[in-house]
């Protein structure tokens, strides 16, 4: 058993864009115990110029609850000093931000691993669905899941502590 107190976290699901620098400063300014900041920003690709926009549908309430569940697992598993996760929904044009994970810690490994873990679970377990709207097509198409995403998430199973459950 560890005696360290678990860190709080911020989870937001929103239509608006986010400011990576401003969000990072919230976790670093005045926090002299922070030695490492890892930020992951997922952006909308233009798919070689063919994509007009991505449309992200989500399950309000469950999306926040699922992300918070993984955030809680992350702060219990790694010694983080701060954690912010923001996921957007709605129509997103190429070049725009979609998702943000910021993890801070005293030493780099915890921040790297926690961010990686969170992105793997956001991809496969948070109730969001992407629809691609192509320039040349009148109707959008739902993005299919990729086996690699499930395989990535499965890497984090910890049989000893059994603290990650994928249904």
């Amino acid at each position: 058993m560890s005696n360290r107190t678990t860190t709080g976290f911020t989870v937001r699901v929103q239509a608006e864009n986010f400011d990576v620098l401003a969000e990072t400063e919230i976790l670093t300014k005045g926090h002299k115990d922070v030695g490492a900041v890892v930020t992951f920003t997922g952006l909308c690709r233009d798919e070689g110029g063919t994509l007009e926009a991505l449309e992200l549908e989500h399950y309000p309430g469950m999306a926040e609850a699922q992300i918070s569940k993984f955030a809680r697992q992350a702060v219990e598993r790694w010694p983080l000093t701060g954690l912010t996760i923001i996921h957007r929904f709605g129509k997103i044009p190429p070049g725009d931000n979609i998702v943000l994970v910021i993890a801070t810690s005293s030493h780099r490994r915890a921040a790297f691993e926690a961010s990686d873990f969170l992105m793997d679970f956001l991809k496969t377990q948070a109730p969001f669905w992407k629809k691609e709207h192509l320039r040349e097509a009148s109707e959008g198409t739902w993005v299919k899941t990729r086996a690699i995403d499930d395989a990535d998430a499965a890497r984090w199973h910890d049989e000893k502590s059994n603290n990650i459950n994928i249904p």
Binding site: E57, G61, V99, P127, W129, K131
Partner: protein, 83 residues
């Protein structure tokens, strides 16, 4: 009981949600999918491959053998593609 549909399940059923009276013969989430599929063409199309559909009960992921008694909200949706 409230039922919600997302992504292509919403499009194929033609609704994002509805309230139903759960028939006595329907005990599990999987049985509810069969019952809904028998409604009309759109529902049949939505539930044609039930093994690919993900289920949430009261906003928690469950399997298709989950017993529905006491459930307020069931949601059906495709595998998630967030991030």
């Amino acid at each position: 009981m409230r039922i919600r549909y997302f992504a292509w399940l919403r499009e194929r059923t033609g609704t994002s949600g509805e309230t139903i009276e759960l028939p006595e013969t329907v005990k599990t989430a999987g049985e509810l999918m069969c019952w809904l599929a028998a409604r009309d063409e759109g529902y049949a199309f939505a539930f044609e491959q039930p093994e690919t559909i993900r289920i949430a009960v009261n906003q928690e992921h469950v399997e298709e053998d989950h017993i529905l008694s006491g459930t307020e909200e069931v949601a059906f949706f495709p595998p998630m593609t967030g991030g």
